[in-house]
Symmetry: C2
Subunit: 230 residues, 2 copies
């Protein structure tokens, strides 16, 4: 590392791609900006890294502040960093993006400092007329692609489900995130055969209609062998 230069003002922020499944669609949390630049436009939630805060702590704090919910109900992982010199017109800013996956949340979630917070379907945000502020469309696109890929080789789909869920509910997560249908019977066998993916409970439910379905919790493994291919 060379001698450190003088410090041109530079800020580090943390931005969040918070994903959930609502109304059978993959949706992302967006906030309406209350001030310039991009005042009144939609953006991803986020904020400045504090002086004595590690990056994961900052992400968890922002998540709590924006959703009003404890961060331990989420899967939170680092996505990537973005630092184009002109990405924020106010000053030089490097942002570290995180993705958070959650089961369907109670309300449209009011943030503490954002003017308005709203879930919006990711396909509308990415393909529709809405442009997110800053480079947040790019960050959202990368986050969604990361989530899609992660479903293949990790048991992370369960992060979109309540603590106890049926195999059909898990399958619907895959179908919604990947945008394709899966054979219910083969899917059932595949996930129950993969040791450690699911932990069977004693309970069943009929909330999806039809014959009672066994309820499962997440298992212990972190990698799927073999992966479920898209």
């Amino acid at each position: 590392m060379p001698k450190q230069p003088t410090f041109p003002p530079l800020a580090v922020t943390v931005d969040l791609v918070v994903l959930t499944i609502r109304a059978d669609r993959l949706q992302a949390l967006t906030v309406r900006r209350g001030e310039a630049p991009y005042e009144g436009e939609w953006a991803l939630p986020g904020g400045f890294l504090r002086p004595d805060e590690d990056l994961p702590d900052a992400a968890a704090r922002e998540l709590r502040e924006e959703t009003g919910l404890p961060a331990d109900g989420f899967h939170l992982e680092q996505l990537a960093s973005y630092g184009a010199p002109d990405r924020d017109p106010r000053m030089r800013t490097v942002t570290v993006a995180y993705i958070a996956l959650a089961a369907d949340l109670p309300a449209p979630t009011a943030g503490t400092d954002a003017a308005e917070a709203r879930w919006q379907p990711v396909d509308e945000l990415l393909d529709g007329p809405i442009r997110l502020a800053f480079d947040h469309s790019e960050i959202l696109r990368d986050g969604v692609e990361r989530a899609r890929g992660k479903l293949e080789y990790t048991p992370l789909a369960a992060a979109f489900c309540p603590p106890e869920f049926t195999i059909s509910e898990l399958r619907r997560v895959y179908e919604i995130v990947w945008g394709r249908t899966l054979d219910p019977r083969n899917f059932h066998r595949k996930v129950t055969r993969t040791a450690g993916f699911l932990q069977e409970t004693a309970d069943t439910t009929t909330r999806d209609g039809g014959r009672p379905a066994r309820l499962y919790r997440v298992g212990t493994i972190t990698q799927l062998h073999p992966p479920l291919l898209r």
Copy 2:
């Protein structure tokens, strides 16, 4: 994003996990630090982000400076960011780590500002007595794991090979990075069957001994379907 706070001095750096295969081992580029902190200890190459530079540009510039070679001979991609408040005793620093993969390079590569640069086997760096400065051991570990995973589902192993290479040479990349042997005959079929992985040339070589082997260039695909599982 909240109102921006006053600026406590904060720096953004770029660190590099530069990997190559030398002497049948996976090796990483290390530099000996010429000043405190960690003076005289080994570290990953890296440096400060410049005021008007995007992150990939900074990574490419550092790579050129440290290896003395044009950055377009490398595969360069972002790994992750690290920002523990105490990771650099001098000041608050967030680093964006990149991984670079390259074919065997000419010399032990003298950097411009590092006291000394040296390739060192990653297993010695990770399991041996050497500790890298800062949190660079953790970054190296993450980078190696990323590289191992990427070989499974991308054609990136070719980044460790010269522009024209034989299937055996490609296979040896997998064997060295994964630390296991692969059946030469099945490997041959698997990679030649995957359309777009390899582009056949008209030439052959006997540099590996035995019957002349066909030389290939990298193909056009960026994802392997199906993946080559570890």
